[in-house]
């Protein structure tokens, strides 16, 4: 039975009203559903955003909407350590599990690491220079840059650019010599020091030695040792003692015997392999170089002379920069890598490469260690119980003074830049990058007795800028010449090198480092001179000894010819492209 109470008359419902009521009910339900759906959508969206944000954060994004998340951790490494470091990075990356970013290495000289670390956005997040002294410089300059604490009562500590450094290997800086040379000097029976090497170099014109530039720990140490010897001290070197005329005179005399400066251990090993015994008689480097060379079973081994006056240590620290942009994933990756690097496997790898591991639990003298006593030699090339003493590291201010004063004591340089401005240099940004590289080179030549010249070539030698000292005026004129270089014509490479050679010979200055830096991007196709002509010319100027560095710019350069020219000049051939030509010119400048 159905009873309706809608109408007292019990009339059937009005169909219009029924339709309206149904529509109204449907509308109400629809609105209700809409509200619930909207609420759910907002909440769901929020949850999705939370999930995404959490995931990105885990994977290394600084925050949503602030740019792409970092995809790796970049570590700047000193050239000397790079080969061993890369091997360890490769193993680490291979074993990386989820959440760990891959590590990328960037080779930089320690002084460049310091410069870049002071910038707002360095191209790396962690750095491994060859010595902690670079961290000291970095922190001092950082403190100067950010200013001291505003309150006198605040503890003046904790405002740092880097986190706590971790050492992963050490190696003392030594004088490396061929065994025959070392025995002539009195090794292993006489205590030998910096003074004996310096005396030998000043008395024997045939004795060839070098030390790297002060951009490397080994070069800086060798320079400090000269200043100490010049001042007659073994500790307490002051600014006054370092700049005393007698000290400077002594250092200048010693520096005059250095064949060339240049890069650190990595390049030295390369040159040892290519030149063998004809390379220098002695040089300053990390002890590790001796082990690395002797492991290649050479005809003559190298030995380490631990200077009697004292030495310094390359202590290979690694630290993370304190940057706001470093993501959680990068921090975690860094910590994982540090754990790996200081773990037993990595420490033994470093030992095998010739470094002394930072982990004291790894003994140096166990069987198979490169420090273990050799049964076949009467005297081991390295001695893990050495050095007995170290030179005192002066304050940062004195170190800076030594580095600055060194420019006035170093061997003077006459260097000719031979620059290809043929038509092909008009491709892409080649010409612009070259100009920037040449300007960077110019900035790095700072000795008061250094001179620079330039030969520009295309179809013929277009311009010859004679050697000139880099006074303020001379430097500005030279910058103008570089900025005005214009690409056109063919490639008369040999004629240009010939011209530079003639220019240097005409100076008749055998006391200086005489060098030519040649750059070309193409094939020789326009010269009157031949390689035979060049060979004769270099042969006739042996007394003056002109070193040639050649650079093949891009993939079309005549590599074979450039290598030939480098061999003629007893120098090196290097490749470059638009991304690294500036760095290469900067590196070459350290040889002068």
């Amino acid at each position: 039975m159905s009873i309706s109470t809608n109408s007292p008359l019990n009339l059937p419902p009005d169909p219009t009203v029924q339709r309206r009521q149904r529509r109204l009910a449907a509308m109400l339900i629809g609105i209700g559903l809409l509200c619930v759906v909207a609420g759910a959508a907002l909440r769901g969206g929020r949850l999705a955003l939370d999930w995404l944000s959490e995931r990105l954060d885990r994977d290394g994004a600084p925050a949503i909407g602030t740019g792409a998340p970092p995809v790796d951790l970049t570590i700047a490494v000193s050239p000397a350590m790079k080969p061993a470091f890369d091997q360890l990075v490769l193993t680490f990356n291979d074993r990386a599990t989820g959440g760990t970013l891959p590590i990328r290495t960037l080779e930089l000289s320690p002084d460049r690491m310091v410069e870049e670390s002071l910038q707002a956005a360095p191209t790396f997040q962690a750095l491994a220079p060859d010595s902690s002294l670079w961290f000291h410089e970095l922190e001092q300059r950082w403190a100067e840059a950010v200013g001291e604490a505003d309150e006198a009562s605040v503890i003046p500590i904790a405002n740092r650019r880097t986190g706590t450094p971790v050492r992963f290997a050490v190696s003392p800086i030594v004088v490396v010599a061929w065994e025959s040379v070392a025995r002539d000097l009195g090794w292993p029976f006489e205590p030998l020091g910096w003074q004996e090497i310096q005396r030998k170099a000043t008395r024997d014109p045939a004795f060839k030695w070098n030390h790297p530039s002060t951009n490397h720990a080994s070069g800086l140490l060798a320079t400090l040792a000269e200043f100490y010897a010049g001042a007659g001290l073994t500790r307490g070197l002051t600014e006054a003692a370092a700049t005393a005329p007698s000290t400077l005179e002594y250092v200048r005399a010693v520096e005059a015997t250095v064949r060339f400066y240049g890069e650190g251990e990595a390049v030295i090993l390369e040159r040892l392999r290519s030149e063998g015994r004809a390379f220098l008689d002695a040089f300053v480097a990390q002890e590790q170089v001796v082990i690395a060379w002797n492991q290649s079973r050479p005809t003559e081994r190298l030995v380490a002379i631990y200077p009697a006056e004292g030495t310094l240590w390359a202590d290979h620290p690694l630290a993370l920069l304190e940057l706001d942009t470093i993501s959680e994933a990068q921090r975690r990756t860094y910590q994982d890598f540090v754990a790996f690097l200081t773990g037993e496997e990595a420490q033994r790898t470093l030992l095998a490469a010739g470094y002394r591991p930072a982990d004291l639990a790894v003994p140096l003298d166990e069987t198979g260690s490169p420090f273990a006593a050799s049964p076949s030699a009467d005297q081991d090339a390295v001695d893990s119980r050495q050095p007995q003493t170290t030179l005192q590291m002066p304050s940062q201010q004195v170190v800076q003074v030594v580095r600055n004063v060194w420019w006035y004591t170093k061997r003077p340089t006459n260097v000719f830049l031979v620059v290809d401005t043929s038509g092909s240099m008009d491709d892409g940004a080649k010409m612009e990058r070259t100009k920037e590289a040449l300007l960077a080179f110019l900035e790095n030549i700072r000795g008061d007795r250094d001179q620079v010249g330039l030969v520009e070539f295309g179809t013929e030698v277009k311009r010859v800028e004679p050697l000139r000292p880099l006074t303020d005026q001379g430097r500005e004129q030279f910058r103008g010449v570089i900025r005005g270089l214009q690409p056109r014509g063919n490639t008369a490479l040999l004629d240009a090198v010939w011209e530079a050679h003639q220019q240097i010979v005409s100076t008749g200055d055998p006391e200086a480092i005489n060098a030519i830096v040649v750059m070309t991007d193409g094939l020789e196709n326009a010269s009157d001179r031949t390689t035979m002509d060049l060979q004769r010319a270099f042969g006739n100027s042996e007394a003056q000894r002109i070193v040639v560095f050649t650079i093949g710019f891009g993939s079309d350069a005549d590599v074979r010819l450039l290598q030939q020219i480098a061999v003629l000049g007893g120098g090196q051939f290097r490749r470059a492209d638009e991304t690294d030509i500036e760095e290469l010119y900067r590196v070459i400048s350290t040889y002068f």
Partner: protein, 425 residues
């Protein structure tokens, strides 16, 4: 439909919209700083989170022990009021940490700021706030309190009551010298003291003048760099104590020209402050006698590196206890401000109790740390470094000494500035 019905419908629709929007906004607002809670959207002070992390800043000499203890503690799946707890350790030298408290770089809230009123970003920033701090010495806690008292009008680490700072281990500064060098010095001067070291440091002819091997060069002192390791500062204070022959040192004492000249001569025998790391005893072992013949370092650090020294270098290190000794008591200090929740504070206390347990105190012996728990003797376990290195001079009871009193802030600042101006630069 009549007007009344339209009004009714309108009210229902409005009510539904309000409910829907509230739900949506509730969802947005549930994101929070601090710990997330199961029902979402609770504040860091009243919420009941899914899990909590106790962040502990630990002094360098106890870092390894505390880090390993934290790993062992985490492995027990600890809970506080049913909430899982994990402990994270951040190693930091006491002076560095004090500098950060001073600068407030950890981000403590200003006075009167209620964490519940913070926006999401500000709450998130508090997630990394330290729950507890274990510096080298109690006086560093007092200096941090003094700094915050000026700013907030209250202490941030309590010195009494349930949350008071409790020592978890102790160690002291001792002389550590390579045996060959110590024998020469003892033959010439008798005992090892700051005066002996000063005389050796100022010997112009170096070791040959002192009766040692010419190959040893000049006498090289090892003192931690005060800007990286608080023990360096304490070594200078200990030297002052011996210079004045009393354990309490004032600003007037450390600014006296004669004392400064004496201290400068002493510090002039340090080979390289610039490359010294915060872990000086480790450097000492790594570079051996080439960088230092001896110095005053923390007993725990010396014991921990003794084996490494023997492995790498021919010469062992011998320990000698000074007349005026500096003790480190490593107080576990819980932050009591609103930046951390009550649950986190209680979890920190739970970890503190764990560190003081017999088992962990015994573990500390393997790191050269003297137990704070009186039930644990120095020879409690076979691996105790105090047993292992007895022949190197380590002693259970410290002989005839006076404990140096803790310096006040002014003395600290005066010495730090003197060091920066006269030695570091």
């Amino acid at each position: 439909m009549n007007r009344t019905r339209w009004i009714f419908v309108g009210i229902v629709v409005a009510a539904l919209i309000i409910v829907g929007v509230s739900l949506a906004l509730g969802g947005l607002g549930s994101d929070g700083g601090g710990s997330a809670s199961p029902d979402g959207g609770e504040s860091i002070t009243v919420g009941r989170p899914n899990a909590i992390t106790v962040r502990v800043i630990a002094a360098l000499p106890i870092e390894t022990w505390v880090r390993n203890a934290a790993a062992a503690y985490n492995a027990t799946a600890p809970k506080i009021e049913g909430v899982p707890v994990s402990v994270e350790i951040d190693a930091m030298d006491g002076l560095t940490a004090l500098g950060r408290w001073d600068r407030n770089t950890f981000g403590a809230l200003e006075a009167g700021v209620d964490p519940e009123t913070l926006d999401a970003a500000a709450r998130a920033a508090l997630e990394d706030f330290p729950t507890a701090w274990i510096p080298e010495s109690r006086y560093l806690v007092e200096l941090a309190n003094a700094s915050y008292k000026e700013r907030l009008g209250r202490d941030v680490f309590l010195t009494d009551g349930e949350y008071r700072a409790r020592p978890i281990a102790t160690s002291l500064l001792t002389w550590g010298l390579y045996q060959s060098r110590a024998e020469v010095l003892q033959a010439k001067y008798g005992q090892i003291s700051w005066d002996t070291i000063h005389d050796a440091a100022t010997a112009r002819g170096g070791w040959p003048e002192l009766g040692g091997d010419p190959g040893w060069g000049y006498f090289k002192l090892v003192v931690p760099n005060p800007s990286k390791n608080v023990a360096g500062l304490h070594a200078m204070i200990a030297a002052a104590g011996e210079y004045y022959e009393r354990p309490d040192i004032s600003v007037a004492d450390v600014t006296t020209p004669a004392f400064q000249a004496w201290l400068k001569e002493l510090m002039g025998a340090v080979t390289d402050f610039s490359s010294a790391s915060a872990y000086t005893a480790e450097d000492f072992a790594l570079f051996g006698y080439s960088v230092g013949d001896g110095g005053q370092l923390l007993e725990a650090d010396l014991l921990l590196n003794m084996q490494g020294i023997l492995t790498r270098w021919d010469d062992p290190i011998d320990l000698y206890y000074p007349r005026y000794v500096t003790w480190f008591d490593f107080p576990f200090s819980v932050w009591v401000g609103p930046e951390t929740s009550a649950l986190e504070k209680n979890a920190a206390l739970d970890f503190q109790r764990y560190l003081l347990s017999d088992e962990q105190q015994q573990a500390g012996l393997a790191y050269g740390l003297r137990p704070a728990n009186p039930r644990v003797p120095l020879d409690a376990v076979p691996g105790s470094l105090f047993t292992q290195w007895q022949e190197r001079g380590v002693e259970a009871v410290i002989p005839r000494s006076d404990a140096m009193r803790n310096p006040d802030r002014e003395v600290l600042l005066a010495l730090l500035r003197w060091f920066e101006l006269n030695v570091a630069e």
